[in-house]
Amino acid sequence: MATRPTFRQEISNLLYSPHGDPFSNCIHCGTCSGTCPVVEFMDQTPRRLIGMINADMKEEVLACNTYWFCASCYHCTVRCPSNIDITGVMYAVKRYSIWHKTYSDDLVGPIFSETFMKTIARSGRSYEPILATSYLFGFGAKEFFQEVQGATKMMLKGRIPILPSKIKHLKNFQNMIKRIVFTEEEA
């Protein structure tokens, strides 16, 4: 009889398959936490997050900000003595949280990612002025004006695009995306 996968198994299933289930290899040395340049801003350190995944603490893992604050710099990954791709684990939890819509509303990360993806699917290329709407309105007044001032300076130097660019084979490109999204939904 099939049993429901545990949270830890669900997360390891989201890792690129050659990576397998790395969580039991963690020796809790804390090298990742000591290396991470964002650690002081996280609710839980990367080491603790791995421990929590290992213990199937699903609610607590999903509720913390740790994985959304990961900058994907791979410093922990290259130093891990147990060869765990910790950045890859952060990506996996991000995906889990987006797919299950468990992220809290005050996080900008997930909305930014979704807007980014929609922009690419529409034109094939990224376009800063559209992306800006995904984070600008979540800012406080001070950050909002700082960002607008910064953008104005960039604009004056000719560094902000006026019009979005588009790829030529857009139809084929969109069909290519559909082939991946469609087969995944079927599976």
Binding site: A71, F116, K157, I180
Partner: protein
């Protein structure tokens, strides 16, 4: 003349136009041709991988497949584009099941990818393909001990690819030395600039940028050289905000390594995109350059 398929990436279309211009100028001077990849798409930077790993790899694979069709090796000037291209290419080569899945999607655009091509970061073209000796011989306007912090950032050296030195890489220092610059000992040279956290977690990102700037200045840097458009924008365009946030007074010029190389090769600053920076490097450059750049 060796030719590469050049994938500029979205940032180089506008925000990092000075990187684009200086990359083309310097390679031309050194006898290498960068042919822009026909109809490339955005590689997704770090954000596609938040949503779907296979789709992310497919979008990267499309660009690689276009290069493969042209029979050229792939070059990316942006560290995130480079990391994505390098690993997608490797996975396609090693994982037949993934390759089949992605090639099925690529067929929609009449493309196929075998993963046989080589993926380079732009700086590798200079360091490994052209070579620092050759560059040294072509330097006509030495940077004359300009103190430069070699800022590698993260994704150019990480994740590890092939047993290379990820803790204390040296190739950037060697390239700067070939230009006649003094590559300072910069402890935070591979520490992350915050990447897209600047948009999603501003407080953390500004603190990260501040640490880098302070460490570079403490180590004696006059300018910081970067190899990635995101690092450049974070370090340069957000200095004002760092100053507002922390009451500091930073004004450190942040240049692309290709802009410095171009000056050393005697190219005119205008052709290298000088003039688009928010923090001018002219006071330092005029102090060090032996002769007025043409």
């Amino acid at each position: 003349m060796k030719k590469y398929a050049y994938f500029p990436g979205c940032s180089l279309e506008k925000m990092a136009l000075s990187y684009h211009d200086s990359a083309l100028e310097t390679t031309r001077t050194l006898g290498v041709e960068l042919e822009e990849l026909e109809d490339w798409n955005c590689c997704g930077a770090t954000t596609y991988f938040h949503l779907d790993e296979i789709l992310a790899n497919t979008l990267v694979a499309r660009n690689l497949a276009i290069a493969e069709k042209q029979g050229l090796d792939f070059v990316a000037p942006c560290s995130a584009c480079y990391k994505n291209a390098y690993f997608t290419n490797k996975y396609i080569k090693e994982d037949a099941e993934l390759a089949e899945h992605i090639n099925y999607a690529l067929e929609a655009d009449h493309l196929q990818l075998s993963g046989d091509l080589t993926v380079h970061h732009l700086i590798e073209v200079f360091v490994d393909e052209i070579g620092t000796e050759e560059i040294k011989n072509k330097v006509s306007n030495s940077l004359n001990e300009l103190r430069v912090a070699p800022y590698y950032g993260c994704q150019i050296v990480r994740p590890r690819k092939n047993g290379e030195n990820v803790e204390d890489p040296q190739f950037f220092e060697e390239l700067l030395a070939a230009m006649g610059a003094d590559a300072i000992d910069f402890a935070y040279k591979t520490r992350c600039c915050g990447g897209s956290l600047l948009l999603t977690n501003r407080h953390a990102a500004l603190a990260m940028i501040r640490l880098l700037l302070q460490n570079a200045l403490d180590s004696g840097a006059e300018v910081i050289a970067t190899t990635c458009p995101l690092c450049q924008v974070n370090l340069e365009c957000y200095q004002t905000q760092v100053n507002e946030e922390f009451g500091t007074d930073y004004s450190v010029p942040i240049l692309y390594f290709t802009q410095l190389l171009g000056l050393a090769l005697g190219t005119s600053p205008k052709k290298l995109g000088f003039g688009k920076e928010l923090i001018s490097a002219t006071p330092f450059l005029s102090k060090h350059l032996v002769k007025e750049a043409k």
